[in-house]
């Protein structure tokens, strides 16, 4: 036991040193940003809109990833935080006519608090029980949104229709392009924050909690606080995604935030790559495009195709798309060295 604990501590300490980016990674990031900036110029408004959704879901997946990948907790309730973010934005824009960009920090803060509060009791729950608790959260969300006494704000069963923002400063670009760039910048900021958070002290603490809670406690990490906070931060990311999603779709309604949204975010995370920040972009792509591919293959039974695709992904890419890419790269370089 002592030996194991020692190894763990050493491993945690080693994490601190490996936090610098290699040149290759810098190039990768630069290319990714460049591609992200150019894409809307090359494709139609409709495609741009789809890519905006990809970014939105990538953000939500990142949120879940912070929780699952770095803290070992998993949640079936992220549709609830997505919904809270979306409704925060919709109510602010519709009732108080507040500009859309102010709704993001508001949605973030509301979700941070909601997530933190939910995280407190969830602390005592592990594994399956946490799954049940979060699952209950996502099941309870649509009826709560419809609840009569809240309907003055939520629009009840009808939902809230909102208006898409125009590009500011008289920029001559379409609403879709503007929203894409706006989302893109928000995503970059959030990615940067996540990366900073996870590679620093906090990240080490989170990983320590995930890998060995007892050792982490012995090292003086306040496990309870960190776990609840992680829940909050995770909810924050998902909530901001929800707000952006609402603005892009221009409509929020209880039917948009069912349990299936939670499942989609979970699927996106696992197939994108658990615990990987770049993987969440692939998660967003999976969420938006895989159902469309399934539908194109068979209109008679699209879900059958969808399910088959999921299972095949797990067979051939057990570490997710990002893990697959990394493994492929590692194999390539090893071969080159051997030559």
């Amino acid at each position: 036991m002592d030996a194991q604990l020692g190894a763990k501590v050493r491993e945690i300490a080693a994490l601190a040193s490996g936090a610098k980016l290699s040149r290759l990674q810098w190039i990768g990031i630069a290319v990714a940003i460049a591609v992200g900036l150019i894409v809307p110029l090359l494709v139609s408004d409709y495609r741009t809109f789809q890519f905006t959704l990809v970014l939105v879901y990538a953000m939500a997946v990142l949120g879940l990833n912070i929780l699952t990948g770095f803290n070992g907790q998993f949640s079936l309730g992220h549709s609830a935080f997505f919904a809270i973010g979306a409704y925060t934005a919709a109510i602010m824009m519709d009732h108080w006519e507040i500009a859309y960009y102010w709704t993001l920090p508001a949605a973030g803060v509301v979700c941070l608090i909601a997530g933190f509060l939910f995280g407190l009791p969830a602390l005592r729950l592990e594994g399956l029980y946490l799954a049940l608790a979060t699952f209950a959260l996502s099941i309870a969300t649509p009826p709560l949104l419809k609840y009569d006494h809240l309907s003055e704000w939520t629009g009840g069963v009808q939902g809230v229709v909102i208006t898409k923002p125009d590009a500011p400063f008289g920029l001559q670009i379409s609403q879709d392009n503007w929203l894409y760039y706006f989302t893109f910048v928000v995503l970059l900021v959030l990615y940067f924050c996540a990366w900073n958070l996870l590679r620093g002290r906090t990240g080490r603490a989170l990983k320590a909690i995930r890998d060995n809670p007892i050792a982490a406690q012995a090292m003086g990490i306040n496990t309870a606080l960190y776990k609840s906070l992680t829940f909050g931060v995770s909810a924050l990311y998902t909530g901001v995604a929800g707000a952006l999603g609402a603005i892009a779709i221009q409509f929020v309604a209880p039917d948009s935030f069912t349990f299936f949204l939670s499942v989609a975010i979970l699927v996106g995370m696992v197939i994108g790559g658990i615990g990987s920040i770049p993987g969440s972009i692939f998660g967003g792509i999976v969420i938006v495009f895989v159902p469309n591919v399934a539908e194109q293959i068979s209109k008679a039974a699209p879900w059958a195709v969808y399910g088959t695709l999921l299972i095949l992904c797990m067979y051939f890419m057990p570490l997710g798309i990002w893990g697959f890419i990394r493994m492929g790269y590692a194999r390539l370089t090893r071969r080159r060295k051997a030559d």
């Binding site: 399956l128 099941i139 057990p318």
Partner: protein
Amino acid sequence: MEFFLQQLFSGLAFGGVYACMALAVVMIYQATDHLNFAQGEMAMFSTYIAYTLISHGVPYWWTFLLAMAISFVGGVMIERIIVRPVEGTSVLNEVIVFIGLLTIFNSLAGWIWEYTIKPFPSPFPKDPLFGNTFVGTHDLGVIGVTLVVLFGVFLFFRYTPIGLAMRAAAQDPASARLVGIRVGWMLALGWGLAAAIGAVAGILVAPIVFLEPNMMGSILLYGFAGALLGGITNPAGAVFGGFAVGVLETLIGAYVSFIGSELKLTVALVLIIAVLVFRPSGLFGRVVVKRV
């Protein structure tokens, strides 16, 4: 009083359904140490197989047994062919495969049998027993069959070497191998048994909620809740949990007026979670003391 009894029995009747599903959940948990999200859809598919057999003139109880047998074989095959490649990779990978199975079965059933609801026969008399208005005979039948299945499961796990081996294989595969247990086959067997029990649940549920591809969706969820409430390691606890969820949900809806039907599910779930916070292994789950 009449109102209360009607609500209570209605809750118990559905509780019986949840209990049966909870039992299948516990079964597969005992055998594989996992929750299978596709369990409900598998049960639904089994019920469609039973439906097809009945419409081809196979007598009811033969259908019942045949559907169980077919489901057993199907469950074993699914584990051996589809689930096996991801076993031991990570829990979440398996969850994704389960979700995949869920969507496949749901979609295939809709494709083969269409989505319109279909009546499914009950083996029990149509008229309520003794002309009472509290509880239908089928509902009583459900409760009865659930208890019989529970008893069977109990005997199987407690008194047969293979039942013991299945529990061992689920808990600690490495040690199980060391005493000569073929762990892979135990998992497959667990899937087969769970599929067969699921078939029973589906066949019992279908006359109440009607047969359609989505019929097991919410029932499985209540089944999970019941199983966790009662203790996922304890079949009898799970059955109790299933009944408790049914009654709790019904009575909350009936008596707490500001909650009403709108939020009864929410409140029931919150209560369950509250219980779990204070009793993390469920009401009747065994607390495992781990010595380090």
